[in-house]
Protein backbone atom coordinates (compact mmCIF):
# COMPACT_ATOMS: atom_id res chain seq x y z
CA UNK A 1 0.00 0.00 0.00
CA UNK A 2 2.75 2.35 1.02
CA UNK A 3 4.74 1.70 -2.12
CA UNK A 4 1.65 2.37 -4.26
CA UNK A 5 1.31 5.73 -2.57
CA UNK A 6 4.97 6.48 -3.11
CA UNK A 7 4.90 5.44 -6.76
CA UNK A 8 1.79 7.47 -7.46
CA UNK A 9 3.20 10.48 -5.67
CA UNK A 10 6.39 10.25 -7.70
CA UNK A 11 4.38 9.81 -10.89
CA UNK A 12 2.30 12.85 -10.01
CA UNK A 13 5.33 15.12 -9.63
CA UNK A 14 7.14 13.73 -12.66
CA UNK A 15 4.08 14.00 -14.89
CA UNK A 16 3.45 17.61 -13.86
CA UNK A 17 7.07 18.48 -14.62
CA UNK A 18 7.08 16.58 -17.93
CA UNK A 19 3.86 18.24 -18.98
CA UNK A 20 4.78 21.83 -18.14
CA UNK A 21 8.45 21.75 -19.09
CA UNK A 22 8.42 19.53 -22.16
CA UNK A 23 5.01 18.96 -23.66
CA UNK A 24 3.60 22.46 -23.08
CA UNK A 25 6.49 23.93 -25.04
CA UNK A 26 6.41 21.35 -27.81
CA UNK A 27 4.09 23.30 -30.17
CA UNK A 28 4.27 20.63 -32.85
CA UNK A 29 2.96 22.12 -36.13
CA UNK A 30 2.44 25.37 -34.27
CA UNK A 31 -0.40 24.35 -32.00
CA UNK A 32 -0.20 20.69 -30.90
CA UNK A 33 0.73 20.38 -27.25
CA UNK A 34 -0.10 16.81 -26.20
CA UNK A 35 -1.65 16.53 -22.75
CA UNK A 36 0.26 13.44 -21.70
CA UNK A 37 -0.53 13.64 -17.99
CA UNK A 38 -3.77 11.84 -18.83
CA UNK A 39 -1.77 8.66 -18.50
CA UNK A 40 -1.91 9.19 -14.74
CA UNK A 41 -5.56 8.11 -14.84
CA UNK A 42 -4.63 5.03 -16.84
CA UNK A 43 -1.92 4.01 -14.40
CA UNK A 44 -3.81 4.80 -11.22
CA UNK A 45 -4.68 1.64 -9.24
CA UNK A 46 -7.85 0.09 -10.61
CA UNK A 47 -9.45 -0.52 -7.25
CA UNK A 48 -9.28 2.58 -5.19
CA UNK A 49 -11.38 4.99 -3.22
CA UNK A 50 -13.20 7.09 -5.80
CA UNK A 51 -13.30 10.21 -3.65
CA UNK A 52 -9.54 10.18 -3.12
CA UNK A 53 -9.03 9.51 -6.81
CA UNK A 54 -11.14 12.53 -7.76
CA UNK A 55 -9.34 14.76 -5.28
CA UNK A 56 -6.00 13.60 -6.68
CA UNK A 57 -7.19 14.28 -10.21
CA UNK A 58 -8.35 17.73 -9.21
CA UNK A 59 -5.00 18.45 -7.62
CA UNK A 60 -3.11 17.19 -10.67
CA UNK A 61 -5.13 19.39 -13.00
CA UNK A 62 -4.78 22.30 -10.64
CA UNK A 63 -0.98 22.01 -10.50
CA UNK A 64 -0.80 22.05 -14.29
CA UNK A 65 -3.19 25.01 -14.42
CA UNK A 66 -1.02 26.81 -11.90
CA UNK A 67 2.02 26.40 -14.13
CA UNK A 68 0.38 27.13 -17.46
CA UNK A 69 -1.81 30.10 -16.37
CA UNK A 70 -4.99 28.38 -17.54
CA UNK A 71 -6.63 28.38 -14.17
CA UNK A 72 -9.10 25.54 -13.65
CA UNK A 73 -9.33 24.37 -17.29
CA UNK A 74 -7.05 21.38 -16.76
CA UNK A 75 -8.70 20.78 -13.37
CA UNK A 76 -12.16 20.49 -14.93
CA UNK A 77 -10.90 18.12 -17.61
CA UNK A 78 -9.04 15.81 -15.22
CA UNK A 79 -11.86 15.86 -12.69
CA UNK A 80 -14.33 14.77 -15.35
CA UNK A 81 -12.03 12.00 -16.56
CA UNK A 82 -11.61 10.76 -12.99
CA UNK A 83 -15.37 10.80 -12.42
CA UNK A 84 -16.05 8.96 -15.67
CA UNK A 85 -13.31 6.35 -15.30
CA UNK A 86 -15.40 3.56 -13.68
CA UNK A 87 -17.98 3.86 -16.45
CA UNK A 88 -15.30 3.69 -19.14
CA UNK A 89 -13.75 0.68 -17.41
CA UNK A 90 -17.06 -1.17 -17.36
CA UNK A 91 -17.47 -0.34 -21.03
CA UNK A 92 -14.00 -1.56 -21.99
CA UNK A 93 -13.47 -4.58 -19.75
CA UNK A 94 -17.07 -5.72 -19.35
CA UNK A 95 -18.36 -7.24 -16.13
CA UNK A 96 -14.93 -8.77 -15.50
CA UNK A 97 -13.85 -5.55 -13.96
CA UNK A 98 -16.27 -6.04 -11.04
CA UNK A 99 -14.44 -9.18 -9.91
CA UNK A 100 -11.99 -9.16 -7.07
CA UNK A 101 -9.02 -10.61 -8.91
CA UNK A 102 -9.28 -8.35 -11.92
CA UNK A 103 -6.07 -6.73 -13.09
CA UNK A 104 -4.55 -5.37 -16.27
CA UNK A 105 -2.82 -8.71 -16.80
CA UNK A 106 -5.97 -10.50 -17.86
CA UNK A 107 -7.12 -7.93 -20.42
CA UNK A 108 -6.29 -7.83 -24.10
CA UNK A 109 -4.20 -5.16 -25.74
CA UNK A 110 -7.21 -3.84 -27.65
CA UNK A 111 -9.18 -3.41 -24.44
CA UNK A 112 -6.39 -1.44 -22.85
CA UNK A 113 -5.96 0.74 -25.91
CA UNK A 114 -9.70 1.46 -26.02
CA UNK A 115 -9.59 2.35 -22.34
CA UNK A 116 -6.69 4.75 -22.92
CA UNK A 117 -8.31 6.15 -26.06
CA UNK A 118 -11.56 6.94 -24.30
CA UNK A 119 -9.75 8.59 -21.39
CA UNK A 120 -7.82 10.77 -23.83
CA UNK A 121 -10.94 11.58 -25.88
CA UNK A 122 -13.03 12.70 -22.89
CA UNK A 123 -10.14 14.70 -21.52
CA UNK A 124 -9.51 16.47 -24.84
CA UNK A 125 -13.16 17.27 -25.52
CA UNK A 126 -13.72 18.75 -22.07
CA UNK A 127 -10.41 20.58 -22.08
CA UNK A 128 -10.73 22.32 -25.44
CA UNK A 129 -14.44 23.14 -25.00
CA UNK A 130 -13.84 24.80 -21.65
CA UNK A 131 -10.73 26.51 -22.96
CA UNK A 132 -12.59 28.14 -25.85
CA UNK A 133 -15.70 28.70 -23.70
CA UNK A 134 -17.89 29.48 -26.71
CA UNK A 135 -19.42 27.54 -29.58
CA UNK A 136 -18.31 30.11 -32.14
CA UNK A 137 -14.94 28.36 -32.12
CA UNK A 138 -16.55 24.99 -32.81
CA UNK A 139 -14.37 24.09 -35.79
CA UNK A 140 -11.25 25.19 -33.97
CA UNK A 141 -12.20 22.98 -31.02
CA UNK A 142 -12.85 20.03 -33.32
CA UNK A 143 -9.54 20.48 -35.08
CA UNK A 144 -7.65 20.70 -31.80
CA UNK A 145 -9.43 17.72 -30.23
CA UNK A 146 -8.72 15.58 -33.25
CA UNK A 147 -5.07 16.45 -33.88
CA UNK A 148 -3.92 16.85 -30.29
CA UNK A 149 -5.93 13.78 -29.30
CA UNK A 150 -4.16 11.55 -31.79
CA UNK A 151 -0.70 12.80 -30.82
CA UNK A 152 -1.56 12.43 -27.12
CA UNK A 153 -2.83 8.89 -27.67
CA UNK A 154 0.32 7.86 -29.52
CA UNK A 155 2.62 9.31 -26.88
CA UNK A 156 0.57 7.83 -24.03
CA UNK A 157 0.58 4.41 -25.70
CA UNK A 158 4.36 4.65 -26.01
CA UNK A 159 4.65 5.70 -22.37
CA UNK A 160 2.43 2.87 -21.19
CA UNK A 161 4.50 0.27 -22.99
CA UNK A 162 7.76 1.87 -21.87
CA UNK A 163 6.88 2.17 -18.20
CA UNK A 164 4.61 -0.80 -17.79
CA UNK A 165 2.41 -0.73 -14.67
CA UNK A 166 2.38 -4.53 -14.48
CA UNK A 167 5.79 -4.50 -12.82
CA UNK A 168 4.31 -3.07 -9.63
Amino acid sequence: MNSTLLINGLRFVLLVLTQVLIFNTLNFLGFINPLVYVIFFYWYPLKSNRAIFMLTAFLLGFMIDFFSDTLAVHSIASLTVAYARPVIMRFCFGVNYEFQNFSFRNTTKIQRLTFLGLLVLIHQVVYFSIEAMSLSHFLLILKKVFTTGIVTLVICALFSSLFSPQSE
Binding site: F31, A51, F62, D69, L71, V73, L79, Y83, M133, L140
Partner: protein
Amino acid sequence: MQRIINFILSYRNAFLYAFLMLICLVMTIRSHSYHQSKFFNSSKWVSGTIYGTAANISSYFSLREENQRLVTENEQLRRLLFNTAQNQPILLDSTQLDYEVISANVIKNSFSSPRNYLTIDRGENHGIATDMGVITTNGILGIVEHTSSNYATVLSVLNTKSRINAKIKNTDNFGSLEWDAQDYTTVQLKDIPRLVPLVVGDTIVTGAMSSIFPENIPIGVIKKYDLDTSKSFYHIDVELFNDMSNIKNVYLIINKNKKEILELQAKTEDE
Protein backbone atom coordinates in the same frame (compact mmCIF):
# COMPACT_ATOMS: atom_id res chain seq x y z
CA MET B 1 -33.38 13.00 8.15
CA GLN B 2 -31.90 9.52 8.10
CA ARG B 3 -33.03 9.17 4.50
CA ILE B 4 -31.46 12.44 3.44
CA ILE B 5 -28.17 11.41 4.97
CA ASN B 6 -28.40 8.02 3.31
CA PHE B 7 -29.17 9.67 0.01
CA ILE B 8 -26.19 11.99 0.30
CA LEU B 9 -23.93 9.12 1.34
CA SER B 10 -24.98 6.92 -1.54
CA TYR B 11 -24.30 9.71 -4.04
CA ARG B 12 -21.27 11.13 -2.27
CA ASN B 13 -19.02 10.80 -5.31
CA ALA B 14 -21.45 12.68 -7.51
CA PHE B 15 -21.71 15.38 -4.87
CA LEU B 16 -17.96 15.62 -4.58
CA TYR B 17 -17.71 15.87 -8.35
CA ALA B 18 -20.34 18.61 -8.49
CA PHE B 19 -18.68 20.49 -5.66
CA LEU B 20 -15.19 20.43 -7.17
CA MET B 21 -16.64 21.23 -10.59
CA LEU B 22 -18.37 24.28 -9.14
CA ILE B 23 -15.09 25.53 -7.66
CA CYS B 24 -13.34 25.03 -11.00
CA LEU B 25 -16.08 26.72 -13.00
CA VAL B 26 -16.11 29.75 -10.73
CA MET B 27 -12.34 30.08 -11.09
CA THR B 28 -12.50 29.62 -14.88
CA ILE B 29 -15.26 32.14 -15.42
CA ARG B 30 -13.60 34.66 -13.15
CA SER B 31 -10.31 34.33 -14.99
CA HIS B 32 -12.09 34.62 -18.35
CA SER B 33 -13.97 37.77 -17.56
CA TYR B 34 -11.41 39.54 -15.44
CA HIS B 35 -7.73 39.10 -14.57
CA GLN B 36 -6.17 35.69 -14.11
CA SER B 37 -6.14 34.43 -10.55
CA LYS B 38 -4.06 36.57 -8.26
CA PHE B 39 -2.82 33.70 -6.14
CA PHE B 40 -2.36 30.89 -8.63
CA ASN B 41 -0.33 32.05 -11.61
CA SER B 42 3.09 31.23 -12.94
CA SER B 43 4.71 34.35 -11.49
CA LYS B 44 4.75 32.66 -8.10
CA TRP B 45 7.94 31.49 -6.45
CA VAL B 46 7.57 27.73 -7.08
CA SER B 47 6.62 27.92 -10.74
CA GLY B 48 8.92 30.89 -11.38
CA THR B 49 11.92 29.06 -9.97
CA ILE B 50 11.21 25.89 -11.96
CA TYR B 51 10.65 27.79 -15.19
CA GLY B 52 13.69 29.96 -14.45
CA THR B 53 15.94 26.91 -14.05
CA ALA B 54 14.61 25.32 -17.23
CA ALA B 55 15.03 28.57 -19.18
CA ASN B 56 18.57 28.91 -17.81
CA ILE B 57 19.50 25.60 -19.38
CA SER B 58 17.62 25.93 -22.66
CA SER B 59 18.70 29.52 -23.32
CA TYR B 60 22.22 28.31 -24.11
CA PHE B 61 20.96 26.67 -27.28
CA SER B 62 19.89 29.97 -28.83
CA LEU B 63 22.74 32.19 -27.63
CA ARG B 64 24.24 32.81 -31.06
CA GLU B 65 20.91 33.73 -32.62
CA GLU B 66 20.03 35.97 -29.71
CA ASN B 67 23.40 37.74 -29.87
CA GLN B 68 22.92 38.38 -33.55
CA ARG B 69 19.52 39.90 -32.88
CA LEU B 70 20.88 42.19 -30.18
CA VAL B 71 23.79 43.33 -32.38
CA THR B 72 21.34 44.18 -35.16
CA GLU B 73 19.33 46.21 -32.73
CA ASN B 74 22.42 48.02 -31.47
CA GLU B 75 23.31 48.83 -35.05
CA GLN B 76 19.86 50.30 -35.56
CA LEU B 77 20.09 52.38 -32.40
CA ARG B 78 23.58 53.65 -33.29
CA ARG B 79 22.33 54.72 -36.69
CA LEU B 80 19.50 56.57 -35.05
CA LEU B 81 21.86 58.21 -32.57
CA PHE B 82 24.40 59.41 -35.16
CA ASN B 83 21.72 60.78 -37.43
CA THR B 84 19.86 62.88 -34.88
CA ALA B 85 20.67 66.55 -34.90
CA GLN B 86 24.03 67.06 -33.21
CA ASN B 87 23.12 70.34 -31.61
CA GLN B 88 20.43 68.65 -29.57
CA PRO B 89 22.05 67.76 -26.26
CA ILE B 90 21.43 64.22 -25.10
CA LEU B 91 19.52 64.29 -21.87
CA LEU B 92 21.59 62.77 -19.13
CA ASP B 93 19.36 63.75 -16.26
CA SER B 94 17.09 60.76 -15.84
CA THR B 95 14.49 62.73 -13.91
CA GLN B 96 13.71 64.61 -17.11
CA LEU B 97 12.81 61.48 -19.05
CA ASP B 98 9.23 60.37 -19.63
CA TYR B 99 9.92 56.67 -20.02
CA GLU B 100 12.20 54.21 -18.27
CA VAL B 101 13.16 50.88 -19.84
CA ILE B 102 14.03 47.64 -18.02
CA SER B 103 15.21 44.49 -19.77
CA ALA B 104 13.97 40.99 -18.91
CA ASN B 105 14.11 37.39 -20.13
CA VAL B 106 11.09 35.33 -21.03
CA ILE B 107 11.15 32.09 -19.04
CA LYS B 108 7.81 30.70 -20.16
CA ASN B 109 5.96 31.40 -23.38
CA SER B 110 2.76 29.99 -24.82
CA PHE B 111 0.92 30.85 -28.03
CA SER B 112 -1.36 27.96 -28.81
CA SER B 113 -4.17 28.48 -26.32
CA PRO B 114 -6.84 31.19 -26.68
CA ARG B 115 -5.53 32.88 -23.54
CA ASN B 116 -1.78 33.09 -23.61
CA TYR B 117 0.49 34.36 -20.88
CA LEU B 118 4.24 34.77 -20.71
CA THR B 119 6.35 34.69 -17.59
CA ILE B 120 9.42 36.92 -17.24
CA ASP B 121 12.27 36.85 -14.75
CA ARG B 122 11.82 40.36 -13.34
CA GLY B 123 9.45 41.31 -10.55
CA GLU B 124 8.65 43.84 -7.87
CA ASN B 125 12.26 43.79 -6.68
CA HIS B 126 13.28 45.24 -10.04
CA GLY B 127 10.54 47.86 -10.08
CA ILE B 128 7.96 45.98 -12.15
CA ALA B 129 4.29 46.64 -11.46
CA THR B 130 0.97 45.67 -13.00
CA ASP B 131 0.00 47.35 -16.29
CA MET B 132 3.46 48.07 -17.63
CA GLY B 133 3.99 47.64 -21.36
CA VAL B 134 6.26 44.87 -22.65
CA ILE B 135 7.97 45.10 -26.06
CA THR B 136 10.68 43.33 -28.00
CA THR B 137 13.11 44.64 -30.58
CA ASN B 138 10.50 44.14 -33.29
CA GLY B 139 7.31 45.32 -31.67
CA ILE B 140 4.83 45.01 -28.87
CA LEU B 141 4.37 41.86 -26.84
CA GLY B 142 1.85 42.50 -24.07
CA ILE B 143 1.06 44.02 -20.70
CA VAL B 144 2.20 42.94 -17.22
CA GLU B 145 -0.69 41.36 -15.35
CA HIS B 146 0.64 40.00 -12.03
CA THR B 147 3.95 40.32 -10.25
CA SER B 148 5.71 38.49 -7.45
CA SER B 149 8.97 39.58 -5.89
CA ASN B 150 11.14 38.10 -8.66
CA TYR B 151 8.80 37.15 -11.51
CA ALA B 152 5.89 38.59 -13.44
CA THR B 153 3.24 37.28 -15.82
CA VAL B 154 2.53 39.13 -19.05
CA LEU B 155 -0.82 39.15 -20.83
CA SER B 156 0.25 38.46 -24.41
CA VAL B 157 -1.31 40.24 -27.41
CA LEU B 158 -2.30 36.69 -28.33
CA ASN B 159 -4.98 36.61 -25.67
CA THR B 160 -8.68 37.00 -26.34
CA LYS B 161 -8.85 39.35 -23.33
CA SER B 162 -6.19 41.70 -24.67
CA ARG B 163 -7.31 45.13 -25.98
CA ILE B 164 -4.59 47.48 -27.14
CA ASN B 165 -5.01 50.93 -28.63
CA ALA B 166 -3.46 50.95 -32.09
CA LYS B 167 -3.44 53.22 -35.12
CA ILE B 168 -2.29 53.34 -38.71
CA LYS B 169 1.18 54.83 -38.96
CA ASN B 170 1.34 58.55 -39.84
CA THR B 171 -2.40 59.02 -39.34
CA ASP B 172 -4.47 59.48 -36.23
CA ASN B 173 -7.13 56.89 -36.99
CA PHE B 174 -7.08 54.57 -34.06
CA GLY B 175 -8.81 51.29 -33.28
CA SER B 176 -8.61 48.43 -30.86
CA LEU B 177 -6.29 45.49 -31.31
CA GLU B 178 -7.77 42.10 -30.46
CA TRP B 179 -7.12 38.43 -31.19
CA ASP B 180 -9.57 35.85 -32.50
CA ALA B 181 -7.57 32.83 -31.24
CA GLN B 182 -7.04 31.45 -34.74
CA ASP B 183 -3.48 32.08 -35.85
CA TYR B 184 -0.52 33.14 -33.73
CA THR B 185 1.00 35.28 -36.47
CA THR B 186 -2.09 37.43 -36.99
CA VAL B 187 -4.12 39.76 -34.75
CA GLN B 188 -7.21 41.81 -35.58
CA LEU B 189 -7.62 45.58 -35.59
CA LYS B 190 -11.19 46.79 -35.20
CA ASP B 191 -13.10 50.09 -35.19
CA ILE B 192 -11.20 51.87 -37.96
CA PRO B 193 -13.87 53.89 -39.83
CA ARG B 194 -14.44 53.07 -43.51
CA LEU B 195 -13.49 56.59 -44.58
CA VAL B 196 -9.86 55.84 -43.89
CA PRO B 197 -7.91 54.87 -47.02
CA LEU B 198 -6.14 51.55 -46.40
CA VAL B 199 -3.52 49.66 -48.38
CA VAL B 200 -2.35 46.11 -47.74
CA GLY B 201 1.13 46.44 -46.25
CA ASP B 202 0.44 49.60 -44.23
CA THR B 203 2.18 49.62 -40.88
CA ILE B 204 0.17 49.51 -37.66
CA VAL B 205 1.69 51.13 -34.56
CA THR B 206 0.53 51.77 -31.00
CA GLY B 207 -1.72 54.78 -30.50
CA ALA B 208 -1.35 57.72 -28.16
CA MET B 209 -4.49 56.88 -26.23
CA SER B 210 -2.90 54.51 -23.74
CA SER B 211 -0.81 55.34 -20.73
CA ILE B 212 0.89 51.94 -21.05
CA PHE B 213 2.74 52.14 -24.37
CA PRO B 214 4.45 55.20 -25.85
CA GLU B 215 3.13 56.24 -29.24
CA ASN B 216 4.47 54.70 -32.48
CA ILE B 217 5.77 51.36 -31.26
CA PRO B 218 5.51 49.01 -34.24
CA ILE B 219 2.96 46.20 -34.14
CA GLY B 220 2.67 44.75 -37.64
CA VAL B 221 1.48 45.26 -41.20
CA ILE B 222 -1.98 45.00 -42.75
CA LYS B 223 -2.41 41.56 -44.27
CA LYS B 224 -6.03 41.74 -45.32
CA TYR B 225 -9.03 43.98 -44.61
CA ASP B 226 -12.77 44.01 -45.14
CA LEU B 227 -15.83 45.76 -43.71
CA ASP B 228 -17.53 44.35 -40.63
CA THR B 229 -21.24 43.45 -40.49
CA SER B 230 -22.34 47.04 -39.81
CA LYS B 231 -20.52 48.14 -43.01
CA SER B 232 -19.15 51.23 -41.30
CA PHE B 233 -15.94 49.92 -39.76
CA TYR B 234 -13.04 47.91 -41.10
CA HIS B 235 -12.03 44.54 -39.78
CA ILE B 236 -8.28 44.36 -40.38
CA ASP B 237 -5.97 41.36 -40.13
CA VAL B 238 -2.58 42.51 -38.91
CA GLU B 239 0.48 40.35 -39.38
CA LEU B 240 2.71 40.77 -36.32
CA PHE B 241 6.34 41.84 -36.68
CA ASN B 242 7.20 39.65 -33.71
CA ASP B 243 7.64 35.95 -34.14
CA MET B 244 5.57 35.06 -31.08
CA SER B 245 6.91 31.52 -30.99
CA ASN B 246 10.48 32.64 -30.50
CA ILE B 247 10.94 35.33 -27.86
CA LYS B 248 13.81 35.65 -25.42
CA ASN B 249 14.84 39.21 -24.56
CA VAL B 250 12.12 41.75 -23.84
CA TYR B 251 11.94 45.33 -22.56
CA LEU B 252 9.50 46.71 -20.04
CA ILE B 253 8.39 50.30 -20.40
CA ILE B 254 7.70 52.37 -17.33
CA ASN B 255 5.72 55.51 -18.03
CA LYS B 256 6.75 58.05 -15.40
CA ASN B 257 3.76 60.27 -16.04
CA LYS B 258 1.28 57.45 -15.73
CA LYS B 259 0.23 58.24 -12.19
CA GLU B 260 -0.46 61.83 -13.11
CA ILE B 261 -2.43 60.83 -16.22
CA LEU B 262 -4.54 58.31 -14.32
CA GLU B 263 -5.23 60.75 -11.49
CA LEU B 264 -6.32 63.37 -13.94
CA GLN B 265 -8.57 60.94 -15.80
CA ALA B 266 -10.12 59.73 -12.55
CA LYS B 267 -10.78 63.30 -11.50
CA THR B 268 -12.40 64.14 -14.83
CA GLU B 269 -14.62 61.08 -14.70
CA ASP B 270 -15.77 61.91 -11.18
CA GLU B 271 -17.06 65.30 -12.19
